[in-house]
C-alpha cells in the first residue's frame, strides 16, 4: 500500500489534535515563543493583530514570508497563517512555505467577492470562519477541514462569537430533530449541500472541529465559549494587546482546559493585568465589520 499524503483524514485530524487548546496570534518570533511557553497548541503568524489592522485601515494582506518563516523556526508547535478570502495564490505561497494550516480569513481584505478558495486542491489544510451553519457547511464543501466562529475580530468583545456559536448550535439542533424528509428543504434554506446536512443530522455536530474566534480577551471568555460547546479557542489581539501577555496567555490556556471548573477559573483570572481595552460593536460602522466579509 502506497503512502497517501494530504488525505482529508490527516487534514481534519490535525484539527482534532488541537481540540481543547488555544491558538494565539503572533507577529514575531519572540511572541511565538511566549505563546508556546504558555502552552498554546499552535500559533497564527501574521503581520499585525486584528486590532492593529482595524486601526491601520487600508488593504490587509498575507504576511511577509520572512515573518512566517522566522516564526516557524522559533517554535515546535504548528504554525498557521492567513490568506485573503479567495486569494488562492497567497494560499499557494503559504503552502510552499510549509505552514501547517491556512486560515482563509475575513480579518484580511477579501481578494474575491464571489468565490472562496478551492481548498481541496491543497495538501495543507484550511480553517475558515462562519457565522451560522450554512456558512460552515459551504466552507466544508469547498474543502475546509476546520471551522471557527467569525466573531468580530480585534474588538476584545466576545458578544459576536457568542452569537455565532449559539446560532450554529441552534441550527444543528434543528437539523438533528428534523425528520429526514425535511432535510432537503432545510438544506435549501441554509444554502448548504444536502449530503453535509445529512451528516450533521447523523453526527449531531459539525463534521469537522469547530473553534471559537473573534473577540476573546479573558480566561472567562475562553471558558464561556468552551461551555457553549466549541472545541477550542483562537485568541487574536486579546493576548498581545493586553498589559501582561505572558500571564494572560497562560491563564487563557488553563481556563480552556479547566473550563468547567470555576475554582480554577477564579484562580487563573487573578492578577493577570488589564485586558485589551475593547470596543462596543454598535460603534463599528457596518462596512467596517469584518464578519460581513465572505458568505
Amino acid at each position: 500500500m502506497e503512502r497517501e499524503l494530504g488525505t482529508f483524514r490527516v487534514k481534519a485530524g490535525l484539527a482534532e489534535m488541537l481540540k481543547g487548546g488555544v491558538i494565539m496570534d503572533v507577529t514575531k518570533p519572540e511572541e511565538a515563543v511566549i505563546a508556546e511557553r504558555a502552552g498554546a497548541v499552535a500559533v497564527m503568524a501574521l503581520e499585525r493583530v486584528p486590532a492593529d489592522i482595524r486601526a491601520a485601515g487600508g488593504v490587509a494582506r498575507m504576511a511577509d514570508p520572512r515573518i512566517v518563516r522566522e516564526i516557524m523556526d522559533a517554535v515546535t508547535i504548528p504554525v498557521m497563517a492567513k490568506a485573503r478570502i479567495g486569494h488562492f495564490v497567497e494560499a499557494q505561497i503559504l503552502e510552499s512555505l510549509g505552514v501547517d494550516y491556512i486560515d482563509e480569513s475575513e480579518v484580511l481584505t477579501p481578494a474575491d467577492e464571489q468565490y472562496h478558495i478551492d481548498k481541496e486542491k491543497f495538501r495543507v489544510p484550511f480553517v475558515c470562519g462562519a457565522r451560522n451553519l450554512g456558512e460552515a457547511l459551504r466552507r466544508i464543501a469547498e474543502g475546509a477541514a476546520m471551522i471557527r466562529t467569525k466573531g468580530e475580530p480585534g474588538t476584545g468583545n466576545v458578544v459576536e462569537a457568542v452569537r455565532h456559536a449559539r446560532t450554529v448550535n441552534a441550527e444543528i439542533r434543528r437539523v438533528v430533530a428534523a425528520p429526514p424528509d425535511e432535510l432537503p428543504t432545510i438544506a435549501k434554506e441554509l444554502g448548504a449541500p444536502l449530503e453535509l446536512v445529512h451528516q450533521v443530522h447523523e453526527l449531531g455536530h459539525l463534521p469537522v472541529v469547530n473553534f471559537s474566534a473573534g473577540g476573546i480577551a479573558t480566561p472567562a471568555d475562553a471558558a464561556l465559549m468552551m461551555q457553549l460547546g466549541v472545541d477550542g479557542i483562537f485568541v487574536g489581539s486579546g493576548i498581545f494587546k493586553s498589559q501582561d501577555p505572558e500571564a494572560r496567555a497562560r491563564a487563557v490556556v488553563r481556563a480552556t482546559t479547566h473550563y468547567q471548573d470555576p475554582d480554577v477559573l477564579a484562580e487563573v483570572s487573578t492578577g493577570i493585568g488589564e485586558a485589551m481595552r475593547g470596543m462596543e460593536i454598535s460603534r463599528i460602522a457596518p462596512e467596517d465589520r469584518m464578519q460581513e466579509r465572505g458568505w
Binding site: R3, E16, L18, K19, V41, R254
Partner: protein, 191 residues
Amino acid sequence: MTRIGIAAVQGAVREHERVLSALGAKTSLVRRSEDLAGLDGLILPGGESTTIGMLFEEYGISDVLRRGEIPVFGTCAGMILLAKEIEGSEQPRLGLMDIAVRRNAFGRQRESFEEEIAVPAISTDEPIRGVFIRAPYVTSTGAGVEVLGTLDGKIVLCRQGRMLAGSFHPELTDDLRLHRYFLEEVVGQGA
C-alpha cells in the same frame, strides 16, 4: 468492567472515548491528579506534547503516573510524553519508557500521511492503517523495549511492560484492534 481514563488536558479525546466504548470499557476524563484514582489504564491522546506535559506537571498528574502503577497507551503526543529522551528538547515528560523520540520526525503537516503498517503481534496478514500527523518516531530503545511495528525502518509502535506507545492515530480509524490489544494484553496482564 475495565475503567480507562483519557487524559483530557487537550487533544483527540472524544475519538479514544468512542473506540473504548465500542470495546465495552468504561471511560472517564483526566484533568487533575484526583481523576486518576481507581483507573485500570490510561490513554494519552494525540495533541501538543508541550501543552499536555506542562499541564500534567502543574495539576499533579505527572507525579502519580511516574510511579508506573497505571498502564498507559500513548499515541503521537502520548508517545513523546512516555519517552525518557526527546531529541533537542527539555520539555516536561513522564519518562516511563526507555526510548528516545524525535518530534515531527516525518515532517510538518504538508508531509502528514496514511500508510499501512504490519504489526505481527496483532495480525500476521492484516496490516493496521497508520494515520501519521506531524508524527514522531522512536530513534533508539533500551533493554526491555519490544518493537511492535516499523515503517521505513523507523520504530512507530513499541511496548515496555505495561506501557505502549504508537506514532500514529488508530483512534481516527474504525480499526479497534490496537485498543483491544491494550485492554487485553497490556491492562489485562496486570490484573
